[in-house]
């Protein structure tokens, strides 16, 4: 009996083992980074910082199970440290183990009660683990922290919605989008609550915003996590950084990150392919062309490369060459709707209107939701003197009434007038003008107004 108790006691206090890693199976860059950290951790396996450093490296390379194991050991070795349970919680969130993550976050906050990102993550984990009462208390406490207020409003809105209190949910969620106007997820939650209350029009408008903004999310600065991300200096991490910089509009930074990636790994097709587009946007056509040649030589990602090269040539107004590039993109992928659309625009420019119309139709066949291609087809049909057919196409793109819609409505108005439906045309033109004004498209609204005046 006594022996059993002792064994149990030892088992309870023994830190978890270091992760077992098949280091030989990793590519060179990862192997080098992970091996070094693993070797250090094995040599100093009771030193929390060294073991935690292994966790950080594995975390940076997205080896979630290994990172969790290393962090857990580090935490067992240094129970009062903040960063090991905190980083472990982030890994556990990534593994969708939210209740465990909440537990780790509580431990982290015991060590560092003021660390705001940990408080936000705790509230989020509690919500995902369906512990609504605790989540609500956590979010309510965060509502007084300016940096965390958007997260608090969103969380409280979600909790109210789950409890069926949609009026209350809407108030919280409206606050969330007021604080962070491009929060797609908050608009999605708003749409659901509007629908629950029968407010259909508002629901549809909120959904449009959700689709417009997608995954944009208000961040809370997190130095502990940033230190993990900074550990990656390999080519692929550079590409990822470059892509993020490009999304933020930092063209120079994006190009530099991609070039840094190629300096480490010259045959990284993804980097070459991205640089075709990035240099194209920077109007450095010579460099863009060089990277296009590199992608073709590598024989990878060809569909994207031919398409981007077509865009590049179009920017230089080399229309015949651009058309050829799009045809190559289509040969690689016959379902490439964008390539068909862009090829159609070149054919249109060359006054090959029938061919352009057919090409736009192929784009739509491949991607029926491609509104721009359908708009282009509608325009072509008008140019070819087929307003009735144009009306049939253009009627399909009048919804949603987003920023794209005014010109589609105006094209539909024109088609009706050409078809002899003057009054219907005037109505659509009026709608187009009103919508253009709502979207701040004053020039378009003025142009429509002039046409309306002449029609009347």
């Amino acid at each position: 009996m006594c022996l059993c108790a002792i064994v149990l006691s030892v088992a309870q206090t023994s830190p978890p083992p270091l992760p077992q890693l098949a280091l030989d199976t990793y590519p060179a860059a990862a192997r080098e980074a992970i091996s070094r950290a693993h070797r250090d951790a094995a040599a100093q396996s009771t030193d929390a910082d060294t073991v935690g450093a292994l966790g950080r490296v594995l975390h940076a390379w997205e080896q979630w199970d290994g990172a969790h194991q290393a962090y857990a050991r580090a935490q067992a070795l240094a129970p009062r440290a903040f960063e090991w349970p905190y980083l472990d919680a982030i890994v556990l969130q990534r593994l969708a183990r939210h209740a465990e993550a909440a537990s780790r976050l509580r431990e982290a906050l015991a060590a560092s009660p003021g660390y705001l990102p940990a408080r936000v993550k705790l509230a989020e984990s509690l919500l995902e683990a369906d512990d609504l009462d605790a989540a609500q208390r956590a979010f309510e406490a965060l509502a007084h922290e300016p940096a965390a207020e958007p997260a608090a409003a969103f969380g409280l809105g979600r909790i109210a919605a789950i409890r069926g209190r949609h009026d209350e949910a809407i108030a919280h969620l409206q606050r969330a989008v007021a604080l962070f106007p491009e929060w797609g997820a908050a608009y999605y939650a708003l749409a659901r609550s509007y629908r629950a209350l029968g407010r259909a029009d508002e629901a549809v408008r909120a959904l449009q915003r959700h689709q417009q903004y997608g995954p944009r999310w208000p961040g809370v600065e997190d130095p502990a996590l940033a230190a993990v991300s900074a550990l990656r200096e390999d080519a692929r991490a550079s590409v990822q950084r470059g892509v993020k910089l490009a999304e933020r509009g930092d063209l120079e930074g994006a190009i530099a990150a991609h070039e840094a990636a190629l300096a480490r790994e010259p045959s990284l097709a993804e980097a070459h392919a991205n640089l075709v587009a990035l240099y194209g946007r920077a109007r450095n056509f010579e460099k863009a062309e060089a990277h296009y040649r590199a992608v073709v030589a590598l024989g990878a990602n060809l569909g994207t490369a031919h398409y981007d090269y077509g865009v590049l040539l179009g920017l230089q107004e080399k229309w015949d060459l651009a058309a050829e590039a799009y045809r190559r993109a289509i040969a690689v992928n016959p379902l490439n709707a964008e390539a068909y659309n862009n090829l159609g625009q070149i054919l249109e420019r060359q006054r090959q209107l029938e061919a352009a119309a057919e090409t736009y139709r192929r784009a739509i066949d491949n991607q029926p939701t491609f509104r721009l291609a359908r708009f282009n087809l509608g325009r072509m049909l008008l140019a070819l003197g087929r307003p009735d057919t144009a009306i049939a196409e253009l009627e399909k793109i009048v919804e949603p009434r987003d920023a794209e819609a005014p010109r589609y409505l105006f094209a539909l108005a024109t088609a009706h007038v050409r078809a002899g439906h003057r009054e219907v045309g005037i109505k659509w033109a009026s709608d187009a003008r009103q919508l253009a004004l709502e979207h701040g498209q004053d020039d378009l609204a003025a142009a429509i107004a002039r046409d309306l005046a002449s029609l009347k």
């Binding site: 990862a30 290994g66 990534r94 491949n366």
Partner: protein, 562 residues
């Protein structure tokens, strides 16, 4: 099996009595026993992978469970991959179930009848759908492929004829799951085909995993391809109704499809699971068109507004409140999701509350369905799991995509509990699970499961658990149209307990077709108050005097008023 004709006022019921196994002694140790090889199912899927990391290699393939020869037992069609260009010897296979209705004591045994049947499809197959599209009383077969799809007409004599060209259902897009459904109530089964992405071998993208090793790309490396809806014109020909019906108004990389009446208006809707793109809930507008209510319904994306992996679908009344709920399998790190319906197509993401989030967090799920494996009346759940990207712990090993399958027990308390350990060795083996089809293969009164593995052998999970409780299997028939009553809703009324509702359908799961008969677990009592059938075109009928532990065939026009 004895076939008896029983007349019960006011309705005529054709009852096929099958041997009940209730009260037959001690409970078996394992809920399921794997018997594919023992039953003669010699089939191994070949994915053709040769280092090119072509996306179709990790997606297939499926299975169809259907009684092609109308002899009263479920036969098996297994979809094969092979070489991606369609060359090579690998073919899909048809296995005839030799159980035979006449002698239920015979051991479960299948015979490969592919050659005689004409179903040796030589294509890079993906999935299968089953339905009697020409109303001749024999179930036909539609096979989706990476490449043109194929419609096989069941000739009723054990052979099939490729009628794809005449039927007009050839589509070169990469198709995945499909469903036969009479969406316009004209008595003819139409066909919905989920299409995936615009991958071509020439346009193959080079992708790598987190540590920089070459890996399969995700769907976001390509563009979604529009799904297809074919309207059955009644003359052996289908018309492409995709645009007319409006089901091309939303994009999605389609992998799973299920039919159900999710808004409770009596008309069949369609639910499509889209990989990394919002799922679609196509609500039937009663005029041959559909409107996508996915996002507003809450069944399209997660609570953060983000689309998930969405592969397989289970559709059914999981909480016995009379409406159809949805379970969708997702990729590891996302958790599978249970959407609880309020009866009006507004869904609550109940994955955490019902206990399915945490157990599925580490798994990439594909084939799935609700089925009452222990016949206690509550729909349980099986998930066939297998990764599409290298599993961290299996790095460097052959086939590093292996995962074990999972079994979940519905406690009846709005909660699922994982029962994989009780499920037996079949749930401990890690393979690359994909398709799953459900049906009582040995006609012993409980639901068995066929699971397909990517680049691996088929598994036949024979249920050992159902004998603990009573059950009722129902086959509905009508004439002249939609002979198997696909889309009908069957309800078993029980005194003092909620009515059990099951939809007659073969779709759902992933790339697979399940038994068209509906199965009810009745718990400790074989008695029912009545059986109600809501026919797909609206009217309802009710039968009384039906006790459990047998298969009953309910013919339209022989029931009373509900």
């Amino acid at each position: 099996m004895n076939r008896v004709l029983v007349r019960l006022a006011p309705a005529l019921i054709v009852v096929s009595v099958m041997p009940g196994r209730t009260g037959s002694g001690a409970a078996p140790e394992e809920l399921f026993v794997e018997r594919a090889a023992a039953a003669g199912l010699a089939f191994t899927h070949v994915n053709g992978a040769a280092g090119g990391y072509y996306l179709p290699e990790v997606m297939g393939a499926g299975v169809a469970l259907f009684d092609f020869d109308n002899d009263g037992d479920l036969d098996l069609f297994l979809v094969q991959g092979g070489a991606l260009d369609g060359s090579g010897p690998a073919t899909s296979r048809l296995f005839r179930n030799d159980l035979t209705a006449a002698d239920p004591r015979r051991p479960l045994r299948f015979t490969d009848v592919t050659a005689r049947s004409g179903l040796g499809l030589r294509a890079y197959g993906m999935g299968a759908a089953v339905g009697d599209y020409d109303n001749d009383g024999y179930l036909d077969l539609f096979v989706t492929s990476f490449g043109p799809d194929t419609l096989y007409h069941n000739n009723g004599d054990g052979t099939f004829t490729d009628v794809t060209r005449q039927a007009g259902v050839s589509d070169a897009s990469w198709s995945t799951s499909a469903a036969f459904v009479d969406y316009d109530r004209d008595g003819r089964l139409d066909l919905f085909v989920a299409n995936y992405v615009d991958f071509t071998i020439a346009a193959n993208q080079v992708c790598s995993d987190a540590v920089g090793a070459r890996d399969y790309c995700g769907p976001r490396a390509y563009h979604p391809v529009p799904d297809r809806l074919y309207h059955n014109e009644g003359n052996g020909h289908f018309a492409n109704a995709t645009e007319r019906a409006g089901v091309n108004k939303a994009d999605g990389a389609g992998l799973g499809v299920a039919i159900g009446d999710y808004d409770g208006d009596g008309w069949i809707d369609l639910y499509v699971a889209n990989d990394a793109t919002p799922n679609q809930l196509w609500i039937n507008k009663h005029d041959g068109t559909f409107a996508d209510l996915g996002l507003l319904s809450g069944s399209a994306v997660n609570a953060q507004g983000n689309p998930e992996g969405s592969m397989g679908i289970a559709s059914g009344d999981v909480d016995l409140d009379g409406d159809e709920d949805l379970f969708v399998t997702n990729i590891a790190g996302e958790t599978s999701v249970l959407y609880i319906n309020d009866g009006h197509a507004s869904f609550d993401d109940a994955r955490a509350r019902w206990g399915v989030a945490l157990p599925t967090a580490a798994f990439t799920g594909f084939g799935t369905d609700f089925f009452d494996y222990d016949n206690d009346g509550w729909p349980d759940l099986l998930v066939a799991n297998g990764a599409v990207n290298v599993v961290e712990a299996q790095r460097g090993q052959p086939s590093p995509f292996r995962m074990r399958n999972q079994l979940f027990h519905n406690t009846g308390q709005r909660r699922f509990e994982e029962a994989s350990a009780a499920g037996g060795a079949a749930f401990a083996r890690a393979e690359i699970g994909r398709g799953a089809a459900f049906g009582d293969i040995d006609n012993d009164g409980d639901v068995d499961v066929v699971v397909t593995n990517n680049n691996g052998p088929v598994r036949l999970l024979v249920n050992q658990a159902g004998s603990r409780n009573h059950w009722l299997a129902v086959r509905v028939t009508q004439a002249p149209g939609n002979r198997f009553g696909v889309g009908a809703l069957v309800g078993v009324e029980r005194a003092g307990r909620p009515t059990l509702w099951r939809r007659v359908r073969t779709d759902g799961s992933y790339l697979s077709a399940s038994d068209v008969r509906v199965h009810f677990g009745l718990g400790s009592s074989p008695l029912t108050d009545g059986v109600v059938v809501k026919w797909p075109d609206g009217p309802s009928e009710r039968w009384t005097g039906i006790a459990g532990d047998k298969l009953v065939t309910l013919e339209r026009g022989t029931g009373g008023k509900p």
